[in-house]
């Protein structure tokens, strides 16, 4: 079945959505004013890392809302509807993403970033790997392509949802989504994105609570409802619908490798001190556990109400229409928009910082003046937003799989080179480059089914193995990394400047 919305409900939904978007624009413009006051020589630092002064709530939500995108709010519940509870079990793997990201690399990156003045995720690779061109250029291309396509998928999902819930056109939805992101991210920089994320996180949490308790009240006693889903198709409530090998690889991609996600790991560059970092773990874990369990699970429970949805990604919107009064359904839509925009905002910062810092400033024009760099920063971010908007006008198909594809590509490229670079002295630029490109290439070959090398698991598993072997192997057969770099990244004292 498809869902229908009566006019009165439409009006309430549009009103709630417009109100939410207006609040976002105010935040964006306010952040733009703050950025306008920033002195030009500090502009790039303020734009990308906000002077490393972010507090616990911001960091917690930047990781949580940054990683929880349309995947958690639309695609995830949709897959719970179509594939069943076995996927909801796999989704639990994302519960501790804040703990994983910050616990695995948070403090080490925090110290090193202050030493080398890192302004982007890729900066970490560039400095650790001796400004190797393969690492830098390969990294920039991977980030632009994969995060770019991920962002497009997010916009498409958001605009489609807007279309079906308001009855207005897809294009209008796309424009509304893009303008908010453009103003917040391109004009407000990381300040805009981090201020917006707090409001987005609150709206997302409100939406999740409303949907969860609304659904439970509507469904009534759980046992008969779940039994009825099992009678529909036993596969929907058994973990064995996916074999253990496949289930485990889902845990690896959605849980274990989150530091390979640039938009999540970049937050290790932003936090103020370790107290804020620890609080960000605790807060973030609570947010994500609530969102995951309450929302993705409800996608499965929608089966008890509507056994035959045509578009599975509509599981949450249709649930909102059914169990909530219109104005609350409007908040649910705003919650989805918040999930999408928070992710997209963080990603656009990553894409822009990679291009400006790690392609333009590192290789094209190292001696760029502060004024010019400021212009390049804003222009790059605006152009990124516009290109993504154009790509989203003619949308690609199948949201969740595209998300899985881009996450896997990035994780395959970055996970081992980042982790080993941080904790194993012997890793050098040759190993780093081989691990990145080898992991990425393997992923494309395996996930695209060009080579039958997945052995019944997700392509991520074989790609991570290849990347690990290459990073370690190539490092060992080539010379040690430069001494100065190792002192920066491991030493108690380190060279502050290099005399020519």
């Amino acid at each position: 079945m498809e869902f229908t919305v009566n006019n009165e409900a439409r009006f309430a939904i549009i009103a709630a959505f417009v109100l939410y978007s207006a609040a976002m624009l105010v935040i964006g413009l306010y952040s733009k004013r703050a950025m306008d006051k920033t002195s030009v020589d500090k502009y790039v630092e303020e734009f990308y890392t906000g002077g490393r002064g972010m507090g616990a709530l911001v960091i917690a939500l930047m990781i949580a809302a940054g990683l929880c995108s349309a995947g958690t709010f639309l695609g995830g519940p949709g897959l719970a509807y179509s594939a069943g509870l076995t996927w909801v079990l796999a989704a639990l793997s994302q519960n501790f993403m804040n703990f994983c990201v910050l616990g695995e690399i948070g403090k080490k990156v925090g110290i090193v970033a202050r030493r080398i003045n890192a302004q982007s995720y890729l900066d970490l690779f560039l400095y650790r790997y001796n400004h190797n061109k393969m690492v830098g250029i390969g990294g920039v291309i991977a980030i632009v392509l994969f995060l770019g396509s991920y962002v497009v998928a997010q916009f498409v999902g958001g605009a489609r949802l807007f279309e079906s819930m308001t009855g207005l056109s897809y294009l209008l939805g796309l424009v509304l989504f893009s303008v908010v992101v453009l103003v917040v991210a391109a004009f407000g920089g990381i300040k805009g994105v981090t201020t917006a994320v707090v409001l987005q996180g609150i709206v997302m949490t409100a939406a999740v609570f409303a949907l969860f308790f609304g659904a439970l009240a509507h469904i009534g006693p759980l046992e008969p409802a779940i039994r009825s889903i099992g009678e529909l198709d036993p596969k929907l409530i058994s973990p064995w619908t996916w074999n253990i090998k496949f289930q485990s690889s889902m845990w690896i991609i959605f849980g274990l490798v989150s530091i390979g996600m640039p938009h999540a790991a970049m937050n290790t560059l932003l936090y103020k001190d370790t107290k804020a970092m620890h609080k960000a773990i605790i807060l973030g874990v609570i947010f994500v556990v609530l969102w995951t369990v309450m929302l993705i699970w409800m996608g499965n429970m929608v089966r008890a109400i509507y056994p035959d949805l045509k578009v599975v990604d509509h599981a949450v919107p249709i649930l909102a229409m059914t169990v909530l009064p219109p104005w609350l359904a409007g908040i649910a839509l705003a919650g989805v928009a918040g999930a999408i925009q928070s992710t997209v905002g963080a990603m656009i910062i990553v894409i822009s910082s990679s291009i400006v810092r790690d392609a333009y400033q590192a290789y094209i024009n190292p001696n760029v003046s502060h004024e010019k760099l400021k212009k390049v920063t804003v222009l790059t971010t605006v152009i990124t937003c516009i290109l993504i908007f154009i790509a989203a006008i003619k949308p690609p198909y199948a949201l969740e799989w595209m998300i899985a594809f881009s996450m896997g590509g990035l994780a395959s490229a970055f996970f081992w080179p980042l982790l080993l670079g941080l904790y194993w002295m012997r890793t050098n630029e040759y190993g780093g480059a081989a691990g990145m490109l080898g992991g990425l290439l393997t992923y494309i070959l395996a996930a695209g089914k060009y080579l039958p090398i997945t052995f019944g698991m997700h392509a991520i598993v074989i790609s991570l193995i290849v990347s690990l072997v290459l990073t370690v192997g190539v490092s060992l057969i080539t010379p040690k990394p430069p001494k100065g770099i190792i002192m920066q990244w491991f030493g108690r004292v380190y060279p502050k400047e290099i005399k020519m």
Partner: protein, 103 residues
């Protein structure tokens, strides 16, 4: 340090005095991986063990199939564990250039 020394590749790692903060970081990294892997293994193991057999014969607890009830419970228990570790095992430290381990 001059350029030649900085880019020297013939040296011993033992010559570099490792910052005690980084040793601590490595330890916390290992703890994090260990906890997450335990969480994954226990969640998957318990769910697949309890979720065997015909779904019509499932035991229900609090309205949920036992395996799913346990999966949620394990997530909640690990939430408590993660909070405990963050509060009492992870250490505060100075993040400045050559700061000290004990803040």
């Amino acid at each position: 340090m001059n350029k030649e020394e900085f880019y020297d590749r013939n040296y011993s790692f033992d010559d570099i005095e490792v910052d005690p903060r980084f040793i601590r970081c490595a330890k916390e990294m290992k703890i994090t991986f260990l906890v997450w892997i335990l969480f994954a293994v226990i969640s998957i193991g318990v769910s697949y063990l309890l979720g065997r057999g015909d779904v019509q014969d499932y035991t229900y607890v609090a309205g949920l199939p036992l395996w799913w009830f346990m999966a949620i419970l394990i997530s909640l228990l690990f939430t408590a564990l993660v909070i405990f570790i963050t509060k009492f095992v992870f250490q505060d430290m100075d993040l400045t250039d050559e700061g000290s381990l004990n803040k």
